[in-house]
Amino acid sequence: MQLSVKKTGHHRRSGPAETLDQLHRGEEAILDRIELPQPFAQRLMELGFLPGCSVTAALSAPGGDPRVYRVDGSEIALRTETAVHLRLRRPRI
């Protein structure tokens, strides 16, 4: 994997990303579940963050937070504090 030159506001991970905030720019992953209270989880789902769908991390504000995510044909910005609650599926090897 290519080493990220830009600081992304959180530590470089070792291994696959477990939560959405750990995705680096350009990386894609499958969303597993949203660990947030129901009304807010529903809002995110309406915007396209559905379990089982693919999410790509895109550009961000300077410093890496908030970051834009490409999901279901739209681009949605989330803060890191929200993105940590979106768990990703472990890739099959």
């Binding site: 807010f40 309406e46 379990p51 504000a61 044909g73 681009e75 929200t82």
Partner: protein, 634 residues
């Protein structure tokens, strides 16, 4: 005619009630519904043009646009533009209102006879999820697939005929921005489109099932998603670049300031000149007397002093309109979010605060984009601390009268400029401190989740920008013609009574003078006398009014550039009093228009009263401390 005698309030279940056959011929109220960023307002503007007005729903702060559409044959239809929603699950105030209106449960709003459901065709998979709950309402519905030209250009496509059969509702492919396909919308409104046989639609409670249904329907209608928007990606790689992004952001902020302070200045001066010229011409025509005084000293100087701000406000709105319609504003909010979150606010609060440097009134209206109610109220409450353009004449007058123009840093920065800059910083610091205080107490909210959709960049249309400016001018001139006219009249009457030998009394003995003398003991600790007192009272209407008032009181031209007024002030105010007056104006809420708009936007008197009291107390305390301190050191 089918009159619904004593119909019980029908409980609408989600089973796609077939619309009654006669319905299309009786449409008189039609609602526009759709997700945010689907082009609802663009279509609304195209259909209604200037025949629209903005109104709040009774009891809530959610606003809706009403407009009239004229059809062939002279028939008219009322169009309601409802707030953008992703679903009909009532969670936010917007969704509640949309749902209630569509169900006919909103008191004071007639249930629509038909619906225009606007969906973004370039994002149909997701937007189609709204179709099921809307169609289940059982009202005649036209599904408008908007931005069809964009879909086509980016290599996507959909078969509207199949989609129509699957959904049991007519479908139109349109581009509201260019006008493509809008004739079909007119046909629907005129009842000229046959409705396809209704279809049984599934009842779906959870989002994943809804999305799955939408996918199946989309595939059935041969929907091809368009390629990613290339230009949006290109522009974002600049606007959201780690270095270029903030730079562009900074230039935009600077640009807004520059426009407010310089670009609109010639137009403002020209208007100012015209107002004065009217005054002079009118003065030559009319004999000296009551009518002369009423028209020129009362009405023209009062209303005129405010009307001259119109160009600045229009330029600001043009700027914000371009930023908003093009899609850059969402990126600016993204960049500002981190900084704003440090004081407990969020990125979406940034734009209103920026425009508050011109005027708090449009700024407070711009807070509507903030969904979190507590964040929105906090932003409304701190917006008037930003140094608005109405404070400029006051600052200029007092600083020029009391501070020498000594250079401080080389030839670039003088003492006066530093004082002015200091006042800007002071207002900003007060705003930030207040935001912190509010967000950690009364307006505390669980760190509002920040979710912001980044719409693709689009060219702003001249039509939509023009309508914005037209709307803004109408509102502004209406206010100048009512509230400000009334204040000017009352002031003039108070300064002219009681008559002495048929002549207005010296201002000191007039009713206005008596009021000034009554409040004098209260403001004496701040270093102000009764003349300043009258100015403070009149400035409750609008800050800059104090300049005109002091001018009248000193019997001179009320122009902040006139040295005569400065000399007169030097006799009446100590240096301590002058500094105290500056501080007072930096903090106090002296603007009836702002109070009125805060009342309207927060839906009651609670917040405006609290805001007025808090800012007044802060102004009083600040001025007192400043007066004591300056008097002590000099």
């Amino acid at each position: 005619m089918s009159d619904c005698h004593g119909c019980p309030a029908s409980t609408v279940s989600c089973s796609h009630v077939p619309p009654s056959a006669s319905a299309p011929n009786h449409k008189s109220v039609v609602a526009i519904v759709g997700p945010p960023n689907s082009g609802k307002s663009t279509l609304f503007n195209r259909l209604t043009g200037m025949q629209q007005k903005v109104a709040n729903f009774p009891g809530v702060t959610v606003e809706h646009h009403m407009g009239r559409v004229r059809l062939d044959g002279g028939r008219e239809i009322s169009l309601i533009d409802l707030p953008g929603v992703y679903s009909l699950n009532p969670r936010s105030e917007d969704e509640q209102v949309t749902r209630d209106v569509l169900m006919g449960e909103k008191a004071g709003v007639a249930r629509p006879d038909a619906i225009l459901l606007i969906l973004d065709s370039t994002n149909l998979g997701r937007h189609l999820t709204l179709a099921a709950p809307i169609l289940c309402l059982g009202l005649p519905t036209l599904i408008v697939l908007n931005m069809a030209d964009d879909l086509d250009r980016r290599g996507g496509g959909v078969d509207p005929v199949t989609l129509s059969q699957q959904l049991g509702a007519p479908v139109a492919l349109t581009s509201a921005a260019s006008g493509l396909g809008v004739d079909k919308v007119y046909q629907f409104l005129g009842g000229a489109i046959p409705l396809p046989p209704p279809v049984q639609l599934p009842i779906m409670q959870d989002v994943p099932k809804c999305r799955q249904w939408a996918r199946t329907v989309g595939e059935g209608a041969a929907y091809r998603s368009p390629a990613p928007p290339l230009w949006t990606r290109r522009l974002d790689s600049v606007f959201l670049h780690p270095i270029a992004g903030p730079l562009v952001f900074f230039l935009v902020v600077l640009g807004v300031f520059q426009t407010i302070f310089s670009a609109a200045e010639p137009a403002k001066n020209a208007l100012d000149f015209m107002v004065r010229w009217c005054g002079t011409q009118l003065g030559l025509l009319l004999p000296h007397g009551i009518l002369h005084s009423l028209l020129i000293d009362g009405i023209l100087s009062g209303v005129g002093s405010v009307v001259v701000f119109l160009p600045q406000i229009l330029v600001l709105f043009l700027f914000i309109g371009i930023l908003e319609d093009s899609g850059y504003l969402a990126r600016a909010a993204l960049i500002a979010d981190r900084t704003m979150s440090k004081v407990g606010l969020q990125g979406k609060s940034f734009i209103p605060l920026l425009s508050a440097y011109a005027c708090a009134v449009p700024a407070i209206m711009a807070t509507r984009t903030i969904e979190n109610k507590r964040d929105r109220i906090a932003t409304i409450l701190i917006a008037p601390f930003m140094t608005c353009s109405a404070r400029l004449p006051v600052y200029t007058l007092i600083i020029a009268a009391f501070l020498p123009d000594k250079p401080i840093v080389g030839h670039f920065l003088g003492l006066r400029a530093v004082a002015m800059l200091g006042l800007y910083v002071l207002g900003f610091v007060a705003a930030v401190a207040t935001a912190r205080m509010l967000k950690s107490s009364v307006l505390k909210s669980d760190r509002a989740p920040f979710v912001l959709e980044m719409p693709p960049y689009r060219w702003p249309t001249l039509r939509s920008l023009g309508l914005r400016l037209y709307d803004r001018s109408k509102v502004f001139l209406h206010r100048a013609g009512t509230v400000i006219l009334a204040v000017s009249l009352v002031l003039w009457v108070l300064a002219s009574l009681p008559l002495k030998n048929g002549q207005p009394p010296p201002i000191e003995e007039s009713l206005a003078g008596t009021v000034g003398r009554t409040v004098e003991p209260m403001i004496k600790p701040l270093g102000f006398n009764w003349k300043i007192g009258i100015g403070l009272i009149t400035s409750l209407a609008a800050r800059e009014v104090i300049v005109g008032t002091l001018g009248t009181i000193y019997g001179m031209e009320g122009d902040s550039q006139t040295t005569g007024l400065q000399k007169a002030l030097q006799k009446d105010l100590s240096l301590g009093g002058a500094v105290a007056l500056l501080i007072f104006f930096a903090f106090a809420m002296q603007c009836m228009s702002t109070l009125a708009v805060v009342r309207r936007e927060t839906g009651g008197w609670k917040w405006p009263i609290l805001q007025f009291t808090y800012m007044g107390a802060l102004a009083f305390a600040g001025a007192f401390v400043a007066y004591r301190f300056v008097t002590w050191i000099t």
